[in-house]
Amino acid sequence: MTTTLIPTTARTASPKRRVKRERQGPAWVFLSPWVLGAIVLTLLPMAVSLYLSFTDYDLFNPPRWVGLRNYVQMFTEDPRYWRSVTTTLTYVVIAVPLQLALALVVALALKSMKRGKAFYRSAFYAPSLLGASMSIALVWRAVFNDGGTVDNLFGTGGWVNQPGWALLAVALLTVWQFGAPMVIFLAGLQQIPAELYEAAAVDGAGKWRQFLSVTVPMLSPVLFFNLVLQTIQAFQVFTPAFAIGAGKGGPADSTLVYTLYLYDRGFVASHMGYASAMAWVLLLVIGAVTAVLFRTSRSWVFYASEGDR
């Protein structure tokens, strides 16, 4: 979705350029807050955190250069770091596909609905707004605790206290918020021209065939957008893990997601250098995952409008 935007902003032919140069002033006035923010709050901090990742820094004493020490420690000497990596990956792999599958199924169900569509759409969307709050995270902790609803229904005991299950409770809170991708799916489904389905029906395609040959390819850009967005967000999960893991990623570090450990190292233990190194690894991993998704997208994402925009 982003790559298609860039060509439209490409500069136009050069003859008029001198005229434009005179008129650039106002543009920079409009842009000035953004430029200031981009430099002072994005680019500069990125550079600084890269530098800090090679230092030992506790906020009070000046940073001390330690070379690759933080990275070496992270990768070879810190089992909790690896614990946070595997916890986060497990969480992403469980939560994102479940959430998107549910979003797609509900969007398909609502698509052909004549009455009540707007109502269901809003109602299913509501948890996406509420779910990020501390209030709901506390509800989750209580519902999945010993003696909570899940314990009473299934007799499994509280998931929150079982290392094997606590992370699933966190993931289910994310799945609960399937409304945002669902709304995007639904909008995508409604943009598929009806003629395509009619033509397919004329050619003798049944419902299932129509789904595979019309819906899936036409919806693939939207699916791709949702996949990238939700994956990036899932890597940064914090609040529900904080609440469900009682602020420490418990029990037995089973909900110690990456950002929670980063918070613990940087802001609780005051190892800002170490936390900066963690932040850079996170940045690189998210960048790499996004790049891989973009690369694979060439083989499965179908862009109908080549050139007409």
């Binding site: 008129r23 807050p33 981009a38 955190s49 707004l129 909008a187």
Partner: protein, 286 residues
Amino acid sequence: MTATAVTRKPVRWGRVALHVGCLAALLVMLYPLAWLLATSLKPADEVIASLDLLPRHLEWSNYSTALDGVNDVSIWRLLSNSLLIAGGAVLGNVISCSLAAYAFARLRFRFRGPLFAFMIATIMLPHHAVLIPQYIIFNQLGLVNTYWPLILPKFLATEAFFVFLIVQFMRGLPRELEEAARIDGCGPFRSFFSIVLPLTRPALITTAIFTFIWTWNDFFTQLIYLFDPDKFTLTLALRQFVDASSSSAFGPMFAMSVIALLPIVLFFLAFQRFLVEGMASSGLKG
């Protein structure tokens, strides 16, 4: 009634099943909210002893306990702190993002293409990559434990998602009005304030509502920047309950949770169209 039923197609069971399925799903979805509301009204002994969703006896005193707040900070203080931060963020985002969006959507300047690409890239940038140095900068400025680190970045258009949202909206506006105005000698500033901004209202409202809700729900940033119980927001006050193991405080705790959710629910009910459409369009355009 029966006569028309005969001439109509037979009951479409597929459609009925669809509605039944959707309603069932909705019940499961809304259960946590119902649980929250019910628990906020339960007396302490019922919270653990009773498995019923509905309280047998309504314990309104949970709410009066919640109104007392935590750590001797009243809930009104917490509420106004939350409102101040969310309000500041809304103001900042609406002003700075619409200014930047206008430049990207309508004005010409050098490096517009690369800068736009950079702006889009920052949407995907994980917040944590810049968090620590930002914290250090604000710490050096002596602004930790104030609201500035929470509000100031919004006035510098750091939430690129909204710049993008407004750019997309502005690109969809007809250019004729602005061109006519330019012929009449109207410069870009006047054109922005008198023509483009009023037409962009729906996108600005979407920006404002999302900013409000996201800031209201935000926990991480508030957690690292605010220490004084006096400066706490509702979210941070609720945080105090996270480590509490006893369920005796359940009633008041969830009463406070309800109060903390209330503004979001009200915003949602009032502006659901903007929210749903805003979310829908974010994935399609481009």
